[in-house]
C-alpha cells in the first residue's frame, strides 16, 4: 500500500489536462488496484467540485455542483493511499479558497503536493483567444492582445487569463505554504516534440509510470488555424443574438469547430505578432527565473517555457485571406448540410412513428364508449356551467 498523500493538479488550461483527466477517469479500477484514487463518479466530477469550491456559476451546471467539493475532500481524507485531483480551472482559486481546499484535504497533516502544468506564453495566448472564440466571444485578436497587455487587467478576459495563466502568481496562491519539494511544475514540450513526452512527464509526477493504463480517449480539444478561427468569430457575430447556447454548443463548437474546422490541414497557424512575441518572451524569461528561484521540482525543462529564437510567421486573424476563409466556410456549409440531411432523415423517421401512433389512437377513438364521452365533454364545454364542472372534474382527476 502506498503512503497517504494528495496530488493536486491545479492547471493551467491548454496543457493537455483534458487528456490526462480522461485517462485517469477511464482507468480508475487499475489505479485503485495500485493504491491510487481518482475520486469521480462522472467524467466531469472534479470539474463540478472545482466550481463548488470557487462558487463559479457555469451556465446552470453549478446547480449540480452543490456540496461537490466537500464530498471530494471527504473521499480523499478516507483514502489511505494516493489521491489525484485534477482540474485546470482550480488555477483561478483565490487565497481563501485555496486555504479551504488545502485544509479540507487534510493539510498540513496529510502530504499535499501541488502540480502545475505549464506551456510557453507564445502558444498559450493564441490558444486562449481561440478558446474564447469557441465560447461565443467576438473580440478581435489585436484587442484581445491589448487587453492582456494592459497592466490594469480590467475586464473579464484579462482577469480570467492572468488568473489561470500567470505561473508565479498561481504558485504564490496555491503553494506559498508548501515546501518546494511538494510543488511540481510540469512543462509542456515544445511544438514538434514526440507526442508521448508530455504523458511521460505526467506519468512521472503522478506516479503512473509502469501501470498498465489504457491511454486511448474519445474527447479531444483540437485547435483551428487562422482562417477557421476567423470564420467562427464571424459566425459568432452573426448568430450570437439568435442562437441559444444550448444549440450553439452542439452546432458551432462541436460540429463546426471541433469536428470540421479543426480537421482542416494546411491553414496558417495562429501566432503572435512580432512586437507581442517579444513582450511574451521577456515575460516568460522573468517567469522562468522566478520559478527557478523557488527551487520547486521541475518535471521537464524550464527552457520549454521560452519561445524559439525567432517568431513564427504571423498571419493576422483579424484580416484573414478571404479565399482561405471562403474555403473554410464551404467546409462548414457542407458539414451543416450533412447535419441538416441527418436531421431531416431523423425527422422523417419520427414523423412515420407519429403517424403510426396517431392511427393507433384513431382506432381507439372509434370505440362507441369513447365517442359517447367525447360528445358529453363537447356539450359541457359549450356552457359556462359545463366548463366549471369539467374544470372541477379535471382537478379531481389531477389533470
Amino acid at each position: 500500500m502506498s503512503r497517504k498523500r494528495v496530488l493536486l493538479h491545479v492547471g493551467t488550461p491548454k496543457t493537455g489536462t483534458s487528456y490526462l483527466q480522461d485517462v485517469l477517469f477511464n482507468n480508475r479500477p487499475t489505479l485503485r488496484a495500485a493504491g491510487i484514487s481518482y475520486p469521480a463518479e462522472r467524467f466531469d466530477g472534479q470539474f463540478l467540485a472545482a466550481l463548488d469550491l470557487m462558487r463559479l456559476p457555469w451556465g446552470g451546471l453549478e446547480q449540480e455542483a452543490v456540496g461537490a467539493w466537500d464530498e471530494l475532500a471527504d473521499r480523499t481524507r478516507k483514502w489511505s493511499g494516493t489521491t489525484i485531483i485534477s482540474h485546470e480551472i482550480l488555477a483561478n482559486a483565490s487565497r481563501p479558497q485555496v486555504q479551504r481546499a488545502l485544509e479540507s484535504l487534510g493539510h498540513p497533516e496529510t502530504e499535499v503536493h501541488v502540480v502545475l502544468s505549464v506551456r510557453d506564453l507564445v502558444r498559450q495566448i493564441p490558444a486562449e483567444w481561440q478558446e474564447n472564440v469557441k465560447h461565443r466571444r467576438t473580440i478581435g485578436f489585436r484587442r484581445f492582445l491589448d487587453e492582456l497587455q494592459d497592466p490594469e487587467r480590467e475586464g473579464r478576459i484579462a482577469s480570467w487569463f492572468w488568473s489561470v495563466q500567470e505561473v508565479p502568481e498561481i504558485l504564490d496562491r496555491w503553494a506559498g505554504d508548501l515546501p518546494p519539494e511538494q510543488v511540481h511544475v510540469v512543462t509542456v514540450p515544445p511544438s514538434g516534440s514526440d507526442s508521448s513526452m508530455l504523458w511521460d512527464r505526467f506519468a512521472r509526477v503522478f506516479g503512473l509510470a509502469g501501470l498498465d493504463l489504457d491511454l486511448h480517449v474519445e474527447r479531444v480539444n483540437p485547435s483551428m488555424g487562422v482562417p477557421e478561427t476567423s470564420l467562427v468569430r464571424k459566425i459568432n457575430k452573426r448568430v450570437n443574438d439568435s442562437v441559444e447556447p444550448a444549440h450553439y454548443r452542439p452546432l458551432v463548437r462541436e460540429l463546426l469547430a471541433h469536428q470540421t474546422l479543426s480537421k482542416r490541414r494546411g491553414s496558417p497557424r495562429l501566432a503572435l505578432p512580432p512586437d507581442v512575441w517579444e513582450w511574451a518572451r521577456d515575460l516568460s524569461e522573468s517567469w522562468v527565473e522566478e520559478i527557478r528561484a523557488r527551487g520547486v521540482d521541475v518535471v521537464g525543462d524550464l527552457a520549454d517555457l521560452l519561445p524559439g529564437a525567432e517568431p513564427a510567421e504571423f498571419f493576422d486573424p483579424d484580416r484573414p485571406r478571404p479565399r482561405q476563409v471562403n474555403r473554410a466556410a464551404l467546409d462548414a456549409i457542407e458539414a451543416l448540410l450533412r447535419e441538416g440531411v441527418r436531421q431531416r432523415e431523423l425527422e422523417e423517421e419520427l414523423r412515420a412513428r407519429v403517424a403510426d401512433l396517431e392511427q393507433a389512437l384513431e382506432r381507439a377513438y372509434l370505440r362507441p364508449t369513447y365517442r359517447a364521452r367525447e360528445k358529453a365533454v363537447r356539450k359541457l364545454e359549450d356552457s359556462g356551467l359545463g366548463r366549471g364542472m369539467m374544470s372541477t372534474y379535471r382537478r379531481v382527476r389531477g389533470r
Binding site: M54, R153, E169, S391, R395
Partner: protein, 321 residues
C-alpha cells in the same frame, strides 16, 4: 513572494473591531494572522459595512472569503504587500471599482442566505371551493416599457437573467414577446379554468415600480444561491425571502428601453393592443397608454447604489419594509 507588513494586519484587526478608518489614513499595526491576507476589495467592503453599522460577524465573514464568479481574481493592498515583478498591480482600496465590491458582497449575501435557518412551513391555505369560480383576471394597462421592466424584474427573482440592456436588446433581436405579455393566451387560459371568468385591462393591475438596484442585487445573488443549496431550498429562499424583499423595495423609476430595442418594444405594444381588440377584453383606461414609453432616463442600475443596497442588506438582513 508576497509579504504583508504589520500595518496591513493592523488595518485588518481595526476593521474586525468595527473600525472605519480609510487605509490611506491608518497608522496602527498588529501581528499577522494564520490565514491569508484579505484582498483590497474585501477590506474596503468591510470598512463600508462598518460605516453602515454592520456586525463584526458579517465583517469577519467578508474578510475570510474570496470573490465568487468571474472577474478580477484579487486586488492586492497597495502599501501592505511586497512589490513583485508579476501579478496584478496592488491598489488602494478606495480605487476598487464598485462592481468588484458588489461581487464580493453578493457572494457574502448568498452564503448568508444559504446558511439561514430553515423557514417554518407556511400556514396551510384554506382550500378554495372549485367550481364556485367567478373571477376577473386583471391584466396590466401601462406603458410597454413599464410592462417589460416588470417582466424582467420577476425573472430576476426566478432564475438567471441577462442585465436589463442586454435582455431587451437580445429580446429585440430574437423578436421575442415575453409570455407574460401575451395577453390573449393568458386570457384564454384563465377562461378555461372555470365558468364566469372575465378578463380586463386596468392600470391598477401593475404594482409600483421596484427599485432597479434591488432587482440587480437579486439578479446577482440568485445564480450564486444555485451553487450553494439544493433546488428545493433555493425555491424556498427565493419565494419566501428574496422575492418578498425585492417586491417591497418600491419607489424607484423603471429603467428605460435602450434605443436599439425601442422599435421592438413598440411592436410588443402593438401586439398587446391587437390581442386585446381581437379578444374584446374591456379596457379600463386608454389603450394608447401602451405606447407612452419614457423617452429619457437611465438604462442600467447605478453601481454605487447597488453597492449601497447590498451593504444595507448585509447589515440589516433581508427585511421587507
Amino acid at each position: 513572494m508576497t509579504g504583508t507588513d504589520a500595518r496591513g494586519w493592523g488595518w485588518v484587526a481595526h476593521l474586525r473591531e468595527g473600525g472605519c478608518t480609510p487605509w490611506a489614513e491608518f497608522t496602527g499595526t498588529a501581528a499577522p494572522d494564520a490565514g491569508p491576507f484579505p484582498g483590497a476589495a474585501q477590506l474596503e467592503l468591510a470598512r463600508r459595512v462598518n460605516l453602515a453599522g454592520g456586525s463584526t460577524d458579517v465583517v469577519r465573514r467578508i474578510l475570510g472569503t474570496g470573490a465568487p464568479a468571474r472577474g478580477r481574481q484579487e486586488f492586492l493592498l497597495r502599501g501592505a504587500v511586497a512589490e513583485r515583478d508579476y501579478g496584478p498591480r496592488p491598489v488602494d482600496p478606495s480605487e476598487v471599482p464598485p462592481a468588484e465590491l458588489v461581487r464580493v458582497a453578493v457572494g457574502a449575501l448568498a452564503e448568508q442566505l444559504a446558511r439561514a435557518p430553515r423557514l417554518p412551513a407556511p400556514a396551510p391555505q384554506r382550500r378554495r371551493r372549485c367550481a364556485r369560480g367567478s373571477g376577473v383576471l386583471a391584466l396590466p394597462l401601462a406603458p410597454v416599457d413599464a410592462l417589460l421592466y416588470d417582466v424582467w424584474a420577476s425573472r430576476a427573482a426566478r432564475g438567471p437573467v441577462l442585465p436589463w440592456p442586454q435582455w431587451t436588446v437580445r429580446s429585440a433581436h430574437l423578436e421575442r414577446v415575453p409570455a407574460a405579455l401575451r395577453f390573449r393566451r393568458r386570457g384564454e387560459e384563465w377562461r378555461a379554468t372555470g365558468f364566469r371568468r372575465r378578463v380586463e385591462l386596468t392600470a391598477a393591475a401593475l404594482g409600483p415600480v421596484i427599485e432597479p438596484e434591488a432587482v440587480e442585487v437579486v439578479r446577482k445573488v440568485q445564480p450564486l444561491l444555485g451553487g450553494l443549496v439544493d433546488p428545493t431550498r433555493r425555491a424556498e429562499l427565493v419565494d419566501r425571502v428574496l422575492r418578498p424583499w425585492m417586491e417591497a423595495r418600491t419607489g424607484g423609476t423603471a429603467l428605460v428601453v435602450p434605443e436599439e430595442a425601442r422599435a421592438w418594444a413598440r411592436g410588443v405594444a402593438e401586439g398587446i393592443a391587437a390581442d386585446v381588440r381581437r379578444a374584446g377584453y374591456p379596457v379600463r383606461g386608454d389603450l394608447g397608454t401602451l405606447w407612452a414609453m419614457a423617452e429619457a432616463g437611465r438604462a442600467r442600475p447605478l453601481g454605487e447604489r447597488v453597492l449601497e443596497v447590498t451593504v444595507q442588506v448585509l447589515c440589516d438582513g433581508w427585511e421587507t419594509r
